[in-house]
């Protein structure tokens, strides 16, 4: 997750207008989720892989690793769809009889399962594209330009920032503890861990207070106003976006 964040700031598409990337990811996501046939999610997957690896310059191995994260979880849920248990062996494509019960796969279920799997992977790849090419702060700017309620965007921004502040604190404390042999045995590990949590908990309160003070010192009056960075709007990108989306949408319509 931290690596994703690092790539978001250092990929080759970082200078592209965030709205363009956001629209590309979101439209493709919707197209992928509404597709009736396998061909659309497969094309989406290929498209996003090309975008991430070739265009954004993110190592292919890293992308594959990322795709494997949801895969294990997806496989589990998809298996429960593919397999069914019945008292009669009728209609099974592959079956095994266990103590009078038939456990196996029915062909239509298998098709649904595979379809769901590919579709989900396609959808996940769209989100990865956005996450890997666009810094969180830019995504938040796009959301607020799209009139997302202020409370949501402000919370997202603060949470995002403070994930890192607290993570750094936690790593520092943990390092300091283990350099004083805080994690040599199970017992000391538990003690150190509880120490870490209570220290962190105290600091969360202190930090949030301090943050409020410092923001007030700079004239905060209840709304976080910041200037979004200006990116050049690129007409060519919109044309490419349209050129890519139209065939996908057509594919969807024809498949129906």
């Amino acid at each position: 997750m931290i690596n994703i964040d690092t790539y978001a700031y250092s990929n080759r598409l970082k200078t592209v207008h965030p709205t363009e990337k956001f629209l590309f990811a979101m439209i493709t996501l919707v197209v992928c989720l509404t597709s009736p046939a396998l061909i659309t999610p497969l094309s989406v997957l290929a498209l996003m892989a090309a975008g991430i690896i070739i265009k954004a310059g993110i190592p292919g191995r890293f992308f594959v690793k990322l795709m494997l994260v949801p895969l294990s979880f997806l496989l589990l849920s998809v298996l429960t769809i593919a397999f069914s248990v019945s008292t009669s062996p009728a209609g099974f494509w592959l079956a095994q009889n266990i103590a009078g019960l038939t456990v196996g796969i029915r062909l239509p279920d298998l098709v649904t399962a595979v379809h769901l799997l590919i579709k989900s992977l396609g959808a996940v790849s769209c989100l990865y594209f956005l996450a890997l090419t666009t810094p969180m702060t830019e995504i938040i700017s796009v959301l607020s330009r799209m009139r997302t309620p202020v409370i949501i965007t402000e919370l997202m921004a603060l949470i995002y920032r403070f994930i890192f502040v607290f993570m750094e604190m936690a790593t520092t404390i943990r390092r300091a503890q283990s350099s004083r042999l805080g994690y040599v045995s199970t017992k000391s590990s538990f003690r150190s861990m509880s120490g870490l949590f209570s220290a962190l908990f105290g600091k969360v309160f202190l930090k949030s207070r301090e943050l409020f003070d410092t923001m007030e010192a700079r004239g905060y009056t209840g709304e976080i106003k910041v200037l979004a960075k200006k990116y050049p709007v690129n007409l060519k990108n919109y044309l490419v976006l349209t050129a890519l989306e139209i065939p996908l949408i057509l594919l969807n319509l024809l498949g129906r």
């Binding site: 921004a157 890192f164 502040v165 410092t214 700079r218 106003k225 910041v226």
Partner: protein, 286 residues
Amino acid sequence: MSEVILEAVDIKFSYPDGTNALRKVNLEVKKGEKLAILGSNGAGKSTLFLHFNGIYRPDAGSIKYRGQDISYGKRALIELRKKVGIVFQDPDSQLFSASVWQDISFGPLNLGLGEEVVVDRVKQAMSDTETTDLQDKPTHLLSYGQKKRVSIAGVLAMEPEVIIFDEPTAWLDPRHGREFMELLEKLSQEGKTIIISTHDVDLAYSWSDRIAVMYSGELIASGEPGEVFLQPDIISRADLLLPWLLEMHRELVQKGWLPPSGPLPKTREDLFGSIAAKRERRLSVL
């Protein structure tokens, strides 16, 4: 120069947990001056600063801005904070945004300025603090000194009249420390009033017009740098050291290389210059 811009009058303050952070502090800050506040850890420097733009409210006593008690109403506080800016000690509690650019733009936008003006100010502040190259980096990937510079830029962009820096050079490398001092000089020449807290006696001695020494919630001395450092009881009570320039000067006077009545050296050039002059005189005697 002599007009008092900020003033603390008999300030007392204790934290909710009962810590008596300020016992009785009286301090005048004159317009356009360079004031350094010295004092050991926990002396109350940061706490005092937070009073100067109305973040904390004293239990007793008052803060005056341009001769008037500051009022703690919402409008009045906003006006005060436009005039008095603080760069906090810990940049991690000041940087609220993950984006350098967005964080620096926060203050000036709160002043109600137009977008173009804000863009100009952000750019100027970034070039003054050499953070232009950092603008596309997220704040969590910056080093501590870099974060410190970004947090300084965030306050500079508001262009306050009085700028308070809480230990500004503590985390900076020598080059950025020196450049920061040059920036302070520039700001001072523009007529800003500058207050810093520091543990660096050499820096305080050479840079400031006036020094105030805090000890355990009290202000125990204030005056011109030479004056303050020549009071040995104050220096030892506040756990301070003598600036090396003064120590060297004292040694040279004791050993007879310099006349005891000469002016105190303010910079290393002053001191080295005076030594060279002595040697020439010796040569001419020979």
